[in-house]
C-alpha cells in the first residue's frame, strides 16, 4: 500500500505545475460584512472590490432589471459625493473602475495606486451606506439603460440569444428573465420600490469586500473598520428565490428571425449548479467539444466540413442549476439542419465512446494552463476571492478548485453526457435572418 501512495505522489508532483498558493486573510465584521485581504507588494497598486449577493434572480417578476439598474444608479453619487463625481475621483487619482451584474451577483471594483486605498474604501463605503437613490438619478439612468439595451442587446447580432434561450429553458425559476430586464418594468417602478431594493440588498451582511495588492494587512484592517463597521446591517431578511425548476420531459424547439446575416443553431442543456461534481464533468465535456481549434465541434464544423464560421460551447456557471450552451454559426449557403445533425452526432459520440487518453490529457492541460494563467492580476484575484467565498463559502478554492477538475474521469464525462445531453433536457433555437 505504501508503495502505491508513493507512486501517486510522485506522478502528482510531476504532472502538475507548482504554483505558489494565493495567501489571504479573511474575517467578518459585526454587521456581517465579510472581508478578504490579499497582500502582494510587487506593483504599487491595489484592487478594491465589493460583491453584493444580488442579481436578476432576486427580482420581483414584475420588476425585472432592477439589479442591473442599481449597478448604474450606484454611480450617481452619495450623500457626500455629488452626481458624476464618483468617476472623477477615480480618474483624478489615476485609477480605473468598473462594475457588472449577473443573474446571481452585482460586482463593483476599482484599481488604484496603493497610496489611494483610503479613497477606494471611502467610495465603496459611501455606496454601501447612503448612495443617492433619487428621482433625478433614476431618470437619467433609465435613459442610459435603455441606450445600453439598444446597443448591447437589440442592435447586437445574436444579442437576444441568451434571453430567448433562458425564457424557454426556465418556466418557474427567475433565471427565466434577462439581467437587463424589462424597460416597462423599470418605467413602472416607484421611488419607494427603488429605495426598498437598495435597503434590502445593499447591506453589509449581503456583501463581500475584497482587497488585493500592495497593502499592509494590519493597517488595512483598521481602515476597513473605520469605513465599514458603522454601516448598519439590513433589518430585512434578504429574500432568496427557492424555486426549483421542474425536470424537463420534452425538447423545446423554436426559430427566431433576427437582424443577422448568418444562420445559427443553438442548443441549451440543463445542467447542475456550479460547484457540484457533475458540473465539473460537464465543464470538461464542453472543453472537449469546443476549447481550441482541435476541439471536436470546431474541427468537424469549421475545419473539416467548413459548414460553419464558428462553433463552440460554454457552461453557464450559476448558483442554481444552469445551462450549457452550444452555438454554431453557419457559413453562406449551408443548411442548418445538416449542421444540427453533425452536432447531435458529436453529442452522441460522447455517450457511446470514451474520450481518448490524449484528449483527456489535453483537456487537463488546458485547464491547468487556464488555472495558472488566471489570477495573474490584482483585480482578478480580488474578484475570485470574493466569488469563492460568496458562492462556495470556501475562499481557498482559489487554490484548490483545479483539483475538482483533475478528479474527473473518462467515465464521469461519459456519464455526464448520458445524463444531461438528452433531447428532452434541451432547448433548440434556430436564428435565421429577418426579411
Amino acid at each position: 500500500m505504501k508503495f502505491y501512495t508513493f507512486i501517486f505522489l510522485f506522478t502528482f508532483s510531476f504532472a502538475f505545475s507548482q504554483v505558489k498558493p494565493i495567501e489571504f486573510t479573511e474575517f467578518t465584521l459585526n454587521n456581517g460584512l465579510h472581508v478578504i485581504l490579499h497582500e502582494d507588494n510587487s506593483t504599487p497598486i491595489v484592487a478594491i472590490s465589493v460583491m453584493y449577493h444580488v442579481g436578476s434572480k432576486n427580482e420581483n417578476p414584475e420588476r425585472t432589471g432592477m439589479a442591473h439598474f442599481f449597478e448604474h444608479l450606484l454611480f450617481e453619487g452619495s450623500e457626500n459625493i455629488s452626481r458624476g463625481e464618483f468617476d472623477d475621483y477615480i480618474e483624478n487619482s489615476g485609477g480605473s473602475n468598473n462594475a457588472y451584474t449577473s443573474n446571481d451577483k452585482t460586482y463593483y471594483h476599482e484599481v488604484l495606486p496603493s497610496n489611494q486605498l483610503d479613497l477606494g474604501l471611502w467610495l465603496e463605503s459611501e455606496r454601501m451606506l447612503h448612495a443617492k437613490v433619487e428621482p433625478i438619478g433614476i431618470e437619467t439612468q433609465r435613459e442610459v439603460v435603455k441606450e445600453e439595451k439598444r446597443q448591447r442587446v437589440d442592435n447586437q447580432p445574436y444579442g437576444t440569444m441568451i434571453g430567448e434561450m433562458m425564457k424557454r429553458a426556465y418556466i418557474k425559476h427567475p433565471y427565466r428573465w434577462t439581467v437587463i430586464g424589462s424597460m416597462e418594468h423599470l418605467n413602472a417602478a416607484t421611488e419607494k420600490e427603488f429605495m426598498d431594493f437598495y435597503k434590502t440588498f445593499y447591506a453589509p451582511n449581503n456583501a463581500v469586500l475584497s482587497i488585493a495588492g500592495d497593502i499592509n494587512i494590519e493597517e488595512t484592517k483598521l481602515l476597513v473598520n473605520k469605513y465599514f463597521s458603522n454601516i448598519p446591517k439590513s433589518k430585512h431578511d434578504i429574500p432568496r428565490p427557492n424555486t426549483i425548476e421542474p425536470e424537463k420531459n420534452r425538447e423545446i424547439r423554436d426559430t427566431i428571425f433576427d437582424n443577422i446575416q448568418l444562420d445559427a443553431i443553438i442548443h441549451g442543456y440543463h445542467i447542475p449548479a456550479q460547484g457540484s461534481k457533475d458540473f465539473y464533468a460537464v465543464d470538461m465535456l464542453n472543453k472537449i467539444l469546443s476549447d481550441g481549434k482541435s476541439s471536436r465541434l470546431h474541427k468537424e464544423l469549421v475545419e473539416k466540413s467548413q459548414k460553419c464560421v464558428y462553433a463552440g460551447a460554454f457552461t453557464f456557471n450559476l448558483e442554481d442549476p444552469g445551462l450549457t450552451i452550444a452555438f454554431a454559426m453557419a457559413n453562406s449557403g449551408e443548411n442548418p439542419e445538416e449542421i444540427e445533425n453533425i452536432m447531435n452526432k458529436e453529442y452522441n459520440k460522447l455517450k457511446s465512446e470514451f474520450i481518448t487518453d490524449r484528449e483527456l490529457e489535453k483537456v487537463r492541460n488546458q485547464i491547468e494552463s487556464d488555472f495558472v494563467n488566471s489570477n495573474s492580476r490584482m483585480d482578478g484575484i480580488a474578484e475570485s476571492l470574493a466569488n469563492y467565498y460568496l458562492f462556495y463559502k470556501n475562499t481557498n478554492l482559489i487554490n484548490e478548485e483545479i483539483n475538482r477538475y483533475l478528479a474527473v474521469t473518462k467515465e464521469d464525462i461519459m456519464n455526464a453526457a448520458k445524463k444531461y445531453y438528452n433531447k428532452q433536457n434541451r432547448v433548440t433555437l434556430y436564428y435565421l435572418p429577418k426579411k
Binding site: Q18, V19, K20, P44, I45, H72, F75, N80, S82, F86, D87, E91, N92, S93, G94, N98, P113, S114, N115, Q116, D118, L121, W122, L129, H130, P135, I136, T140, Q141, V144, E191, M195, K199, Y227, N230, P232, F257, Q261, D263, G292, K293, S294, S295, K299, E303, S332, G333, R358, E361, K362, N365, Q366, E368, S369, D370, V372, S376, M378, P433, K435
Partner: protein
C-alpha cells in the same frame, strides 16, 4: 433665529452635505444659490463611459428649476424615512414633513416663486428643529468624517522590472524579462523591418499575416492546431507584426519546437492563399460602407502620400495583383534573425534562455535585408478640405489631421502626450470633449491623438457629428487647436492629466508583458536603458510652460488636412475651411473624383427625359403590347448563406405576383395581387393587403410604372445634372400622391434609369440599375444592386436577371 432655521432646514433637506451648506448665506441670496444648486444637479451630466447621456436641460429653463425643487422635496420625504434608521430615530415628525413637501409641490405648480415657499418650509420646520439638531450631532459623531474625501498617502515608488539582453551570432537580439511568480513562459518574435512600398500589390503583408501558421514542411494545419491545444498553449500569428506564443513551463520544449518549425519551415499553399484572399476581399467590401474606415484611408493617403508605405491603400485591384510567390518572397525576405527581436518573458533564467536560443535559433539563417529610402512627409502648406460623399449619411465623420515628426522617447515626447491629453486625450475632461460634447452637444465624443513613430507620425483630432453642425464643429476643432498654442493651460488641467498618466503607467506595470514591451521600445527606438525608470520623474516635472512650448511647435491650425466623410449636401458650407475655397472630393479608396453637379441649360424638360426613357425601354408600343411577362432572377444577400430565386409575374391589366424562395427553406417572401385584393406571405405567415397598405404598393404591381405616371399622380421635378459612375445623368425628384419623394437619375446618353434613392420604413434605400439588356422587344436592367441602410448597418442585395418569359401564359392561380 430665522436664518438659523432656514439653514437647518437645508441641512435637513440636503442631509448634511457640506458643499450645499456653504452655499447658504441669507434670505434671497441663499435661495438663489439654492436654486442654482438644484439647477446644477440637473445640468451636470454624468461622465462615466457607462452612462454617457446628453440632455439639454438648459433649454427647459425655469420649468426645469421648478421640477428640480419638486423632485428635491419629494426625495426628501423618503430620504427622511431611510436616514431615520441611522440617526434621526423616530423623534422626527414625519407626517409634518410629508405634508410640507406636498404643500411645496402644490405651490410650485402654481409657479409662485422661490422665496415664498422656502419661507413656508422654515416655518414648518421650526417645530421640529431641535430634534433635527440632536440627530445631526449623533450623525456627526458616527459619520462626520465621511463628508470629505480622504487624502492620498505618500506616493509609492514605482519600480520597473529589470530586463536582460544578449545577441546571437546570426544577429537575433534577445530580451529577457524574468518573472517567476507563475510557471509560464512566453516568446514574442518580431522582425523590426523598415517600412517598404508594395506599389501595385498592396496587401502582401496582410496576406502573410493570415497565412502564417497554416502549415509547415512536416505538419498540416490540423496537426499544428492539435499540438497547440494539447499543451494548452496560446499562439498568435500576426505576420510581420510578430508571433506570440505562451505555455506552461513544462510544455516549453514542445512549444519551442512548434514555433521554431512554423518560423523556419512554413509552407504556403494555394488553398490557404485563396482562403486568405477571399477573407480580405470581403473585408474590403464592408469598408465601403464604413465611414471610419474610409476616413482612415483618406487620412493615411493625405498625411503620408501614396509614395510613402504608410499612405498605401489596399484595393480589390491591388489584392488581385498578388500571387502566392509574392507572399513566399515577403516571408523569406523579412523573416530574418538579423533584423528580429526575440522577447522572452516568464519563468526562465538567463542561462536557460541562452541554451534555448542556442538550440533553436542559432541555425536560423541570416540574410541582408535591404532598407529603402522613404519620402519626407510634411503637413499641407495651408488648410485643405477633403470630402468623401456617403450616400444618405446623417452624420459627418471629421478628422483634422497632419503628419508630425515625433519619435518615441524623443525630447518632446512626454510633453506632447500630456498636451494631447489636455486637448483631447484619454480623460473625459479633455477640452474637445468639454467643448463639442458637453457645451455644444454636437457629438457623443470628440478626441485627439498624437502618434509617435520612428519614421513619421501624425496628429489627429476627430469626432462624428450631426450633419448640420459639421461646419460649426470644424470651427471648434480649429479654435481649440489654435488655443493650445496661444494660451497657457491651467495648472489644474495639467495636474489632472499628470495624475491620470502616472496612474495608468503604474497600473500597466503589473503585467510582465508590459515590462517586456517597454524593454522592446528601448531597443527598437534606441532609447537610453533607464528611459522608463525616469519616465514618471520626467512626467511630473513637466510645467505649464513646457506644454506651451511643444504646442507652439506641434499644433498647426493652418496646416491641416480636414477630412469629412458625409453627405455631399453639406459640402458647400465647408468650402470656407479650404485655403483655396475649393473642396477636393475623393472616393473611398482615395481617387480624386468629380461629383460636381451642373445646371441644365440646353432647354431639356422633364417630359423630354421621360419620353427618352420610354424609348430606351423599348418604346410605348412594345411596352404595352404584351399580355403576360415573367421575370426570373437570382438574388444574393451579402453575408447571408442561402441562394435565393426571385420570380415576378405580370398580367394585363394589372395582375401581379412575386415569390422569393430559398433552397431548403422554401418561400421567404411572397406577394399577390389579382387586380382587386392582395396578400403577402412568407416566413411570418400570410397577411391580407388592404386599404392604405395596398394603395401604397399599387406602383410595385406594374411592369412599367412610368407609363402610368398620370393615373398614379406622380409629379416630376428636374433638378440638375450629376455624374453617376462617371456618366452624366439627370437628377429628377419624383413625388407620389401622398408626398413621398424619390430621387431618380436618368443617364443622359442612354436615357435609362440608373439609380434611385428613397426612404422607406425608416431605412434608406439606394438602388443601382446596370446592364440594360434586350429581351425580345423589351429592355430590362440585368443587374440590380440595392443597399438598405438602417441604424444596424447596411445590407447589400444584388439581383441578376436570368430569364424573361413573354406571353407564354401564367396560371391565374398565381395571382390569387
Amino acid at each position: 433665529m430665522k436664518k438659523f432655521i432656514l439653514i437647518l432646514s437645508f441641512i435637513c433637506l440636503n442631509t448634511y452635505s457640506q458643499d450645499k451648506q456653504e452655499k447658504l448665506g441669507s434670505t434671497l441670496e441663499e435661495i438663489k444659490s439654492c436654486l442654482q444648486f438644484v439647477e446644477k444637479k440637473k445640468v451636470k451630466k454624468s461622465n462615466s463611459r457607462k452612462y454617457e447621456y446628453i440632455k439639454d436641460f438648459k433649454t427647459e429653463g425655469w420649468v426645469c428649476i421648478e421640477k428640480g425643487i419638486n423632485s428635491y422635496i419629494k426625495g426628501f420625504s423618503f430620504q427622511t424615512d431611510w436616514s431615520s434608521d441611522i440617526y434621526l430615530s423616530k423623534k422626527i415628525n414625519n407626517e409634518d414633513l410629508i405634508k410640507l413637501s406636498e404643500l411645496i409641490k402644490n405651490e410650485s405648480y402654481k409657479k409662485k416663486r422661490n422665496y415664498e415657499y422656502l419661507e413656508l418650509i422654515s416655518k414648518k420646520i421650526n417645530t421640529i428643529s431641535s430634534d433635527i439638531l440632536i440627530g445631526k450631532n449623533q450623525w456627526e459623531k458616527l459619520h462626520g468624517f465621511r463628508s470629505k474625501p480622504p487624502q492620498a498617502g505618500k506616493a509609492p515608488e514605482i519600480k520597473i522590472g529589470d530586463y536582460q539582453e544578449f545577441k546571437l551570432k546570426n544577429g537575433l537580439e534577445v530580451i529577457l524579462v524574468e518573472n517567476h511568480k507563475k510557471p509560464v513562459v512566453s516568446f514574442y518574435l518580431v522582425p523590426d523591418y523598415s517600412p517598404f512600398l508594395e506599389n501595385e500589390k498592396v496587401g502582401i503583408k496582410d496576406m502573410l499575416s493570415m497565412m502564417m501558421g497554416s502549415g509547415t514542411k512536416t505538419k498540416t494545419k490540423t496537426e499544428i492546431n492539435e499540438i497547440t491545444d494539447y499543451i494548452g498553449a496560446t499562439i498568435n500569428y500576426n505576420g510581420l507584426d510578430g508571433l506570440f506564443a505562451s505555455a506552461l513551463k513544462k510544455h516549453q520544449k514542445v512549444l519551442l519546437e512548434l514555433i521554431n518549425d512554423v518560423i523556419k519551415n512554413p509552407v504556403f499553399s494555394s488553398e490557404e492563399f485563396n482562403k486568405a484572399k477571399k477573407q480580405l476581399l470581403s473585408g474590403l467590401e464592408s469598408q465601403k460602407s464604413n465611414p471610419g474606415a474610409i476616413s482612415n484611408n483618406i487620412s493615411n493617403l493625405l498625411n503620408y502620400g501614396k509614395n510613402h508605405p504608410y499612405g498605401e491603400l489596399i484595393t480589390e485591384k491591388t489584392l488581385n495583383n498578388i500571387n502566392l510567390n509574392d507572399v513566399k518572397n515577403l516571408y523569406s525576405k523579412y523573416f530574418r534573425p538579423n533584423i528580429s527581436y526575440l522577447v522572452i518573458v516568464g519563468d526562465i533564467n538567463v542561462d536557460e534562455a541562452k541554451e534555448i536560443c542556442d538550440k533553436y535559433f542559432k541555425k536560423w539563417k541570416k540574410k541582408k535585408v535591404v532598407t529603402y529610402p522613404l519620402v519626407e512627409c510634411s503637413p499641407p502648406k495651408n488648410n485643405q478640405l477633403a470630402f468623401v460623399h456617403k450616400e444618405g449619411a446623417v452624420q459627418s465623420t471629421i478628422k483634422v489631421t497632419y503628419p508630425i515628426n515625433l519619435k518615441p522617447g524623443s525630447e518632446d515626447y512626454i510633453a506632447c502626450k500630456v498636451m494631447n491629453s489636455i486637448l483631447g486625450g484619454g480623460v473625459f475632461s479633455g477640452r474637445l470633449m468639454q467643448n463639442l460634447r458637453e457645451d455644444k452637444a454636437f457629438t457623443y465624443g470628440a478626441r485627439s491623438s498624437i502618434k509617435s513613430d520612428k519614421y513619421v507620425g501624425d496628429f489627429t483630432a476627430y469626432a462624428d457629428v450631426r450633419n448640420e453642425v459639421t461646419d460649426s464643429s470644424i470651427v471648434e476643432f480649429l479654435y481649440e487647436i489654435d488655443r493650445m498654442n496661444k494660451e497657457l493651460v491651467t495648472s489644474k488641467e495639467l495636474n489632472v492629466i499628470k495624475n491620470y498618466m502616472t496612474g495608468s503607467f503604474s497600473r500597466s506595470l503589473e503585467s510582465p508583458f508590459r515590462v517586456a514591451q517597454l524593454a522592446l521600445n528601448i531597443k527598437m527606438n534606441d532609447l537610453s536603458k533607464d528611459y522608463y525608470k525616469n519616465y514618471l520623474k520626467k512626467l511630473n516635472s513637466i510645467s505649464v510652460k513646457n506644454i506651451y512650448e511643444v504646442a507652439k511647435k506641434y499644433m498647426k491650425p493652418d496646416n491641416c488636412n480636414i477630412i469629412v466623410v458625409g453627405n455631399k449636401k453639406i459640402a458647400k458650407k465647408l468650402e470656407k475651411f479650404d485655403f483655396n475655397k475649393k473642396i477636393t472630393f475623393y472616393n473611398y479608396i482615395g481617387d480624386v473624383i468629380n461629383i460636381k453637379s451642373k445646371k441644365i441649360n440646353d432647354g431639356t424638360t422633364i417630359e423630354d427625359i421621360i419620353e427618352k426613357n420610354i424609348e430606351a425601354q423599348g418604346g410605348k408600343n412594345h411596352m404595352t403590347k404584351w399580355n403576360n411577362v415573367k421575370l426570373i432572377s437570382n438574388i444574393e444577400i451579402q453575408g447571408a448563406p442561402m441562394k435565393i430565386n426571385l420570380e415576378q409575374g405580370y398580367k394585363k391589366p394589372n395582375l401581379f405576383y412575386m415569390s422569393m424562395k430559398a433552397k431548403m427553406i422554401g418561400e421567404i417572401q411572397g406577394m399577390k395581387f389579382n387586380g382587386e385584393t392582395g396578400s403577402t406571405s412568407g416566413m411570418q405567415g400570410e397577411k391580407e393587403l388592404k386599404g392604405e397598405d395596398l394603395n401604397k404598393r399599387i406602383e410595385e404591381f406594374l411592369l412599367f410604372p412610368i407609363l402610368s405616371r398620370n393615373e398614379l399622380e406622380h409629379t416630376f421635378k428636374l433638378i440638375e445634372i450629376e455624374p453617376i459612375n462617371g456618366s452624366d445623368s439627370y437628377k429628377v425628384i419624383r413625388t407620389n400622391k401622398i408626398g413621398e419623394e424619390k430621387t431618380m437619375y436618368f443617364e443622359i446618353s442612354s436615357g435609362q434609369l440608373v439609380k434611385e434613392i428613397f426612404e422607406k420604413d425608416g431605412m434608406q434605400n439606394i438602388i443601382e440599375y446596370n446592364n440594360y439588356t434586350k429581351f425580345e422587344e423589351l429592355i430590362f436592367p440585368q443587374n440590380i444592386k440595392m443597399s438598405i441602410t438602417s441604424p444596424q448597418g447596411t445590407q447589400i442585395v444584388k439581383s441578376n436577371l436570368t430569364e424573361v418569359i413573354i406571353d407564354k401564359g401564367i396560371e391565374d392561380s398565381n395571382f390569387n
